[in-house]
């Protein structure tokens, strides 16, 4: 079956570590998204899975078989490349047919399979064209058809939507998910676009600097980011994070002390945490005349359905507040206070940058809701 697993996989290019001790499992028929900034090792991880790179150490499994050293063609995978990598001198039909021809599928069978694959992505009318005569979206569909024509166990997709314009991307996103449900195969999907990750993935694996940061369903990644990197990477505008000091009554931020329940402070002290980073999503902050942390409104950005209020704390740190458009906006330059429900606070250790799960704050997690999706 289409299960995929990495066990302690490391890849080095000379001195540079591209993937560092990656361990993760992808279940059969799961849509897993590898998400991260460029250079984080997500594409290298995918290429190792495809067999285009060999891991320096660790094992990779597809199905129940260790595939280290196995040729790409024997791994029962198909890959969609960022550039699509269509063969420019072949017609669409011959492009889709190529994987079958390479595997010596008889002609009659081949024809039926090509027709089926091209129907699945809606290419019937374009079979005799060359890739150069197709639009970006059509080429993307040819690449998809070439991948699905063999019915492999696992699809690997390397930023397949990044060359499409914004409108087409939204449409293709939905079509890709439909296709995956219909074909019931495993997909490992690499992207740097968090919107794609949040909307498409059954689970998201977030990587940074070669290391896996968190692997969880999209809602959980949003509601309970495992560390500061994830917290700041997911969400648009990103989570506000302010470093503070644990004091007797709560956590001291520039300009005020956020009061904390005594049991929480006790828990923090018990762990020896002195510095903590407080994180709040922009939509969980309220701008009020009276409150805990003083701030100055500098800019108000209106997006139509919502509004971003950009504030500065007394020491100049920037905080973004997301307001619904029906709330009365503050005036620019006004002195205000920022407040929030303590349940919406995320706490991170200032030293390790790991999430502090005290079982007290943010435990239920605010109902996640992603900007712009």
């Amino acid at each position: 079956m289409g299960r995929v697993a990495f066990h302690g996989v490391t890849k080095r290019f000379g001195d540079a570590v591209a993937v560092d001790d990656l361990t993760l499992e992808v279940e059969d028929q799961e849509f897993l998204v590898l998400l991260g900034p460029s250079g984080c090792g997500k594409t290298t991880a995918l290429r190792m899975l495809a067999g285009l790179e060999e891991p320096t150490s660790g094992t990779i499994e597809i199905g129940s078989r260790v595939v280290n050293g196995v040729e790409p063609k024997l791994r029962d995978i198909a890959m969609v490349f960022q550039s699509y990598a269509l063969y420019p001198h072949m017609s669409v039909r011959r492009n889709i047919e190529f994987p079958l021809k390479s595997r010596h599928v008889p002609a009659a069978e081949r024809r039926a399979m090509v027709d089926e694959a091209s129907r699945a992505v809606g290419l019937e009318e374009l079979m005799e064209r060359k890739p150069g005569q197709l639009s970006g979206g059509q080429r993307q569909r040819v690449a998809l058809a070439r991948a699905i024509v063999r019915r492999p166990q696992v699809f690997l997709m390397d930023e397949p939507l990044s060359n499409l314009d914004a409108k087409l991307r939204v449409q293709t996103r939905a079509e890709l998910i439909e296709l995956q449900r219909r074909l019931a195969t495993t997909v490992v999907y690499v992207t740097h676009d968090q919107v794609e990750a949040m909307t498409m993935g059954d689970r998201i694996a977030i990587m940074n600097a070669g290391r896996l940061q968190q692997i969880a369903p999209p809602q959980e990644v949003y509601a309970r980011p495992a560390n500061l990197f994830v917290a700041r990477f997911i969400g648009n505008p990103p989570m506000n994070t302010v470093a503070g000091r644990v004091v007797d009554t709560g956590i001291e931020l520039p300009g005020g002390i956020v009061p904390c329940p005594p049991e929480m402070l006790e828990a923090l002290r018990a762990r020896g945490v002195e510095g903590a980073v407080i994180g709040v999503r922009p939509e969980h902050l309220l701008v009020e005349a009276e409150g805990i942390v003083p701030a100055t409104v500098t800019v108000i950005e209106s997006l139509g359905h919502e509004r971003h209020v950009v504030c500065r704390l007394v020491d100049g740190q920037m905080i973004i507040v997301r307001q619904a458009s029906d709330v009365t906006p503050p005036t620019e330059g006004a002195a205000v206070h920022l407040t929030t429900d303590p349940a919406n606070l995320h706490l991170f250790d200032a030293q390790t940058e790991e999430r502090l799960d005290l079982g007290l704050v943010g435990a239920g997690g605010p109902a996640a809701e992603l900007a712009g999706s």
């Binding site: 063609k73 063969y87 001198h89 190529f98």
Partner: protein, 490 residues
């Protein structure tokens, strides 16, 4: 001179040359059919979308080609006889050459005129829909361009165009019998006489006649077929299609007949030159591609090998010839050192001389071929190979399905450039064999040189113009292919 049926019906010949002739015919059929069909579709997309069973061009070429094959074997020996009578009636046997030359020139000019007319009409239509704008500015740009080109025009004019024109004059002068005796201007008659008697032999004209018949029949059939397939679409003529259409059948069939029947100096030199081109281009291409593929691997110290592989490019013709002249020497060279006895010496052996010279030229050209091929290989995106690996293609299939087709413009370019080099080769021949033994390495340029040395300037003039036409043909093909290369772009 009595003319018999067998003079025309040479299909009974059973030697290699007859095979070549049939091959040339088949190629001609396919090519003409292709061009004719092409001309009857507006665009490639039209062609791709026409709902025809078996719409691959070669299948149609096969169908269309079989018709003239029958015609060739049955009908046109008779027609050739007719042609011969026409030519004889038009002109005496001596001047038949110039008559047919005139016919060919007229046909060519007609073709060019047609294409020029097409251009004018197309331009007007495009103008009418406003596709061409800023004509005034363009004219100004052209003025500037010609202004900038003027200095090079002057240089070329002095050293290329003027001597070229003089060549025509030289070719019309009958040289004096003794050195120092002034030549006599005998006009273009020299050309007719020369082509008829000294250079070609008569059969080429029958060949041209046959070519014309094949061409007309083929073109009509293919065009009709294409139109039938394509519904009522009107043919669209491209200038290049027309030019090729007129040229190819004539050249192919004329050449084969020429090989078939002529044994003059020119024919021999032409044969040697063609063989020389084949012997140098094909192995050079294979070797160069091989080295480029090897050097394109990401291995240690590849930079060093790249330098080594491309180093022949900086070795001059004279230097490389002298080096190999020494290496091939039967007393002091590399061969006796290897324990190989050569008697007669390789360069003096009629069966080996041309191959030996070709080997030297292959080595000398290898650097250029290697660089061209390497550049071509590096232009192929890596992800195509990766996609092919994931798609299950092994190294062999990747080479044939991706490397070769993606490299085909480069390969074609290399073939054309290599052929032109072969047609222009002189230094190697002069230094290695002086055209011998038994004229087995007497390429065209060397024949021309010898004619000049012997005072036969009119023959040399005519031969140089013939050489010019041959090289020009290759250059035109090269330009067409380079144009097509653009179609690959995504």
């Amino acid at each position: 001179m009595d003319i018999t049926w067998s003079d025309f019906y040479d299909a009974s010949g059973s030697d290699l040359r007859h095979g070549l002739f049939v091959l040339a015919l088949i190629v001609t059929f396919f090519w003409t059919a292709r061009v004719a069909i092409d001309a009857n579709f507006r665009t490639r997309a039209d062609w791709a979308e026409s709902k025809v069973p078996g719409r691959d061009l070669w299948r149609i070429g096969l169908v269309v080609g079989s018709v003239p094959a029958v015609v060739y074997c049955v009908v046109y020996p008779g027609i050739s006889l007719l042609f011969h009578s026409i030519f004889t009636w038009l002109d005496g046997p001596v001047h038949m050459g110039s008559t047919v030359l005139a016919v060919v020139v007229v046909v060519w000019i007609a073709g060019l005129a047609l294409s020029a007319a097409y251009e004018v009409i197309a331009r007007k239509k495009l103008d009418a829909v406003g596709a061409l704008t800023n004509r005034g500015r363009r004219a100004k740009d052209a003025e500037l361009a010609y202004g900038l080109l003027l200095p090079s025009f002057v240089l070329f004019g002095e050293f290329v165009f003027y001597p070229f024109a003089r060549n025509f004059r030289a070719s019309r002068i009958q040289p004096g019998l003794f050195p120092g005796q002034p030549g006599k201007n005998v006009g273009w008659a020299q050309w007719g006489r020369f082509i008829d008697t000294a250079v070609l032999g008569k059969s080429i004209w029958y060949g041209l006649g046959r070519g014309l018949i094949v061409f007309v029949i083929l073109f009509l059939v293919a065009g009709a077929l294409a139109r039938a397939i394509n519904g009522s679409a009107k043919p669209v003529w491209r200038p290049s299609s027309i030019a090729v259409l007129f040229a190819v059948p004539f050249i192919m069939i004329a050449l084969v007949h020429f090989f078939d029947t002529s044994d003059s100096d020119f024919a021999n030199s032409f044969k040697v030159t063609i063989l020389f081109a084949i012997y140098t281009v094909v192995p050079g291409l294979v070797l160069g591609l091989l080295l480029a593929v090897v050097a394109n691997q990401r291995l240690r110290n590849m930079g060093f090998y790249r330098v080594v592989f491309s180093s022949p490019i900086i070795t001059g013709v004279a230097a490389s010839s002298v080096i190999f002249f020494t290496l091939l020497n039967p007393q002091v060279g590399l061969l006796p050192w290897l324990g190989l006895e050569t008697n007669p010496a390789l360069l003096e052996n009629p069966s080996w001389a041309l191959l030996a010279v070709s080997g030297v030229v292959v080595w000398a050209n290898l650097g250029l071929v290697f660089i061209l091929m390497s550049a071509g290989l590096q232009a192929i995106p890596d992800d195509l190979y990766e996609a092919a690996r994931v798609d299950g293609a092994g190294a062999w299939r990747r080479f044939w399905s991706i490397t070769v087709p993606m490299l085909s413009p480069t390969i074609f370019f290399t073939v054309v450039v290599g052929s032109i080099f072969a047609f222009q080769a002189f230094g190697q021949i002069q230094l290695l064999t002086q055209g011998g033994p038994l004229k087995k390495t007497n390429v065209l340029t060397f024949q021309i040189y010898q004619d000049v040395v012997q005072g036969n300037t009119s023959k040399a003039g005519i031969l140089s113009i013939a050489l010019f036409v041959i090289v020009l043909t290759f250059t035109v093909i090269q330009l067409r292919v380079l144009e097509r290369r653009v179609e690959y772009g995504n």
